[in-house]
Amino acid sequence: MSKIKEKAKAAKEKKALYGTDVDLAAFKSKATEHAYQDSLEKIPPDSQRGMTEAGIVLSEEGRAGSYIQMDHSPVHCSIREEGVEILPIVEALKRYDGLEDYWWQAMAVDADKYTAHAELELHNGYFIRVSKGVKALFPVQACLYLGEEGIAQHVHNIIIAEEGSELHVITGCTTAPNLARALHIGVSEFYVKRGATLTFTMIHNWGEEVAVRPRTAVWVEEGGTYLSHYVCMKPARSLQTDPTVRLLGKGAVTRLNTILVAGKGSEMDVGGRVHLEAPDTKAEVVSRTISTGGNIISRGLLVGYVPGVKAHLECNGLMLSETGYIRAIPELDGRIAGVEMSHEAAVGKISRQEIEYLMSRGISEADATALIVRGFLRVEMEGIPAELKKEIDRAVEESGKSLM
């Protein structure tokens, strides 16, 4: 047995640092196979709707390629732009000798029982790579879809942005409309090489009883940029994730934006950690959270190891309900003199003054509230192309329809 497998076995019962402990035995590890489709338009209409809401373009117009996985089966994989490679991860492992340099390198296989299970029972995932110097014009889209009641979906994704390349990836994770209970474990390891830029947008539209445990680790080399935009505005029973970015090379930059809306019954524990390990690195971690009755823990951690690094953390929460809570836990960890790190956190309700101000312009109270909420969720992010920005805004709008 390989060392990785051994480690995974040893961590099979290892509880995660944060979040409710999910009973993995309560979910089926086998799922019915789905047939491969040469076109996304052949996917059943019910599933299509969810995918569209999660940002997937069925015609694949304006996309550099697609990876679509339903339950455990890759049902579609296509490439429309040169220099971009997309494969089901199981195939990539075969083709590239186990992807030694990347497989469980950024993320520890024994981090907790979720990572361990993703190794012991792998249900595929995507491998996306953009070649050296290639600046992909359009985003790659990926969708991880849960359709079968009561199953566990363990995926492992790898994205590699080779030296000097540019890539946008839009991932939509969603469930069948009638699906009640399921588990999604998603391990993601991203490698942003020298001077490359990776923009990663993840839209989660889960069912109400779904447990979600993404495990994301990102390495950014010299002059590289990693921009992440995570949106989860639909209820999920239990979501816990704490993506970690290591800025390893001089001048590496990252921005992590998180938008969360927790409805009644939802538990969301979402963080963002950045390790600033090289000179001139910069990080910004921003979260906007809304509770409409659910519970949110919004974490953020910046660790500065080198003098002169700059980083800022911002956790803002809006309570729109009498029940539920939002806990903002920003942490700064300076390991040496000369780091420049700051944070701000605020949790409150919508200001009456703002509502009345808009009402004095003839806007109804409901519309005024919606405008303020929409504004609250609009996080400006530099470095995102206008087209992609529009798309993220559209997704936020689409996802938050019931709220606005």
């Binding site: 009402m359 312009r361 109804s364």
Partner: protein, 244 residues
Amino acid sequence: MSLIIKELCVEIAGREVLHDIDMEINPGETHVLFGKNGSGKTSLLMAIMGLSGYRITNGSIIFKGRDITHLPINERANLGIGMAFQRPPTIRGLKTRDLVDLLGKQGGNGGKTTKYAESLEFTEFLEREINYGLSGGEIKKSELVQLMAQNPDLILLDEPESGVDLENIALLGKVIKKLLQKNLRRLRVKSGLIITHTGLILNYVEADKGHLLLDGSLKCSGNPREMFDTICKFGYEECARCQR
């Protein structure tokens, strides 16, 4: 009659701040409110607009023949009342351009946002979030750009010139004049109620009547120029006395 205020009493947090106010503003007229800090001028404007926190305990406000004393704020606005706030809130994430576009559309007056902003040299600020990081003068402009799109019949202006440099006062004055249809004589229907401390706005906007508020009571009404001159020379108390 555009606006009739009858025996109006207003409380803030249980304390009466306006006592038995009577005032009438006819269509086409512009009135000016004078008074010391804390005399109740802003409270009167807020009560006319209907903001919570300004509780009407007695009297009534009639606008265009309709009793609006207890009408929600937005319904007053839709009847044609508009206000430029002295200290408006910041609304994060809401772009000024988007709000002005919306107000224009709402009033059947869409597509003119840039034109409005240009008239106030405010174009570059349209991409800013509402009042976020704006200077005092820029806030006044933002308020007026919104009012232009809203196009109200009764315009409440709370110190439109405070914190504004002289060149920009001229610019604001020109826009306010236009909002109040000062270029029209017979056909003018827009009316205004303006709070001013400096009186500078009177150099740009001809006013028909002045009112002096002292400790929450209207002490006198008269020619706004004469009243302002008296206040400048002898103070507020003296202005109230001379009219008695």
